[in-house]
Symmetry: C2
Subunit: 251 residues, 2 copies
DNA sequence: TCTTCAGATTGATTCACATCAAGGTGAATG
DNA sequence: CATTCACCTTGATGTGAATCAATCTGAAGA
């Protein structure tokens, strides 16, 4: 069992429930989140525009496609998925967002959210009103730069996914996702080899352009090859190099 | 033959060869390009930071993956493709860029270009040094806003492509691309129904996650169904509604 | 004019993943 | 404690696009 791995984040959720005084300055994630590039007095100003409300429950929406765009959001704890609904009613998952990551930037272009975002588990969110962020950006070159970089990063991530969908096999896609989640855990000082997947097999398949059955078979195959240990949503990477080889991306 | 359709742009290329005094103020594309949101005296300031050099020849690179990031670029005439090279040497086309469109924004995130860009035909380019653009953006809220929107738009476009690759059949993908090109032509006041594809079948297939053979077969099928007339790179959309149905996106 | 060569088309065959179908598992609920 | 239901797994079969293999086309160059 890897319950203990989640402990630090669960604690964070509780802390936030009891203590609405959380701020960017003392946030455990400030080295990977928006404040990353700022001096402490600038952080204070950023902090002043950020709104923290009570946590989202599992399956609650943060925003819906075509909602008015007002804010971008930082994940403080929990995980969200972003998805678009196609005209024939099907769903396309466009991304998963972990603590320290920013979502909602696709809404800037049309002043309306281009996708929906819902919590995969209880999630605490920092809301950053966009007009305030714009004004602050004009005053703080580092913030402006950092936000440009965040958006650019989202573009490169999407391009990675495009390549994955267009060129890679089912095995490679799943391996790449596991490596991505592992890396994002490491960034937050959590285990890179043991973690709990916050999303269902359906979501994984949807995100990777595969069916549930295929995802399930890939996991079984990886387990047989002793690259991964899979126990429902608990994942242990047994052979990181093997997984990288399987992903067939970076050597 | 649809040679006359290209005439306005060919003329633009010649004008630019002979006349390096082109500027944003008198540019035919200023209503769809970066100056879009600006007053005329602001346009002048933007114009001052823009560098125009001699046109790129077919197959010349504008920048290469991992080149130092210095500038973003606006296409004044011609077409470019952006592509990434995967670690095993294969190529993934991530976008096509037509006149009035901005490319290079994926380089902001790491101060290095995340993809390469090469000209599919002779192309005139406006280079916009990014540090200058940043400074100007801090002074002109409209410019900052517009540039945020441009990046956000790139994100939503990439998400469209992700959905296309993940959910749609070969027929649907090709139909969607034809509609996209048609729409972008219309935006530039060119014919929405007759145009010349600037890219090869290989590039189309690569972009859409299909092989050349499949692309070719789809074109043949569309021709048989009298939705499209295809003569090598010359395309005529005979039945726009039929094409939309085929794309199976917006009703 | 003939040659060459890259790009495009068309047909035959194969294969990876989707689809269809049938259980299995475990957390939530009465 | 039994029931339900969402989620996951595994197996059998089908299929759309990839692959393999020719051939065609037209522009560029000798």
């Amino acid at each position: 069992m890897t319950i203990h791995l989640k402990q630090s984040e669960d604690t964070a959720i509780k802390a936030c429930n009891h203590d609405y005084q959380v701020n960017c300055g003392n946030c455990r994630l400030n080295s990977i989140c928006l404040p990353l590039a700022l001096e402490s007095d600038d952080i204070q100003q950023l902090d002043d525009i950020i709104q923290r409300s009570k946590p989202l429950q599992k399956n609650q929406h943060l925003y819906r496609e075509s909602d008015d765009f007002q804010s971008v959001y930082a994940v403080r704890s929990g995980t969200l998925k972003a998805y678009k609904t196609t005209d024939d009613g099907r769903e396309q998952v466009t991304g998963f967002y972990f603590p320290g990551e920013i979502l909602g930037m696709d809404g800037i272009s049309n002043n309306a959210h281009a996708s929906s975002a819902k919590a995969l588990e209880t999630a605490a969110i920092c809301e950053i009103p966009f007009t305030s962020l714009e004004k602050l950006s004009a005053l703080m070159p580092n913030l402006q730069r950092h936000f440009f970089q965040l958006m650019s990063h989202e573009i490169t991530e999407d391009q990675q996914l495009i390549t994955l969908l267009s060129k890679n096999s089912a095995d490679e896609r799943v391996a790449a996702l596991m490596l991505s989640i592992s890396g994002r855990n490491a960034r937050r000082k959590l285990s890179a080899t043991q973690f709990r997947l916050p999303m269902s097999r359906v979501d994984i398949g949807n995100y990777l352009g595969l069916t549930v059955e295929t995802v399930s078979r890939v996991f079984s195959r990886m387990q047989k090859m002793e690259v991964l240990r899979v126990d429902n949503k608990e994942i242990e990477i047994l052979d990181p190099q093997g997984l990288k080889n399987m992903a067939n991306l970076g050597s």
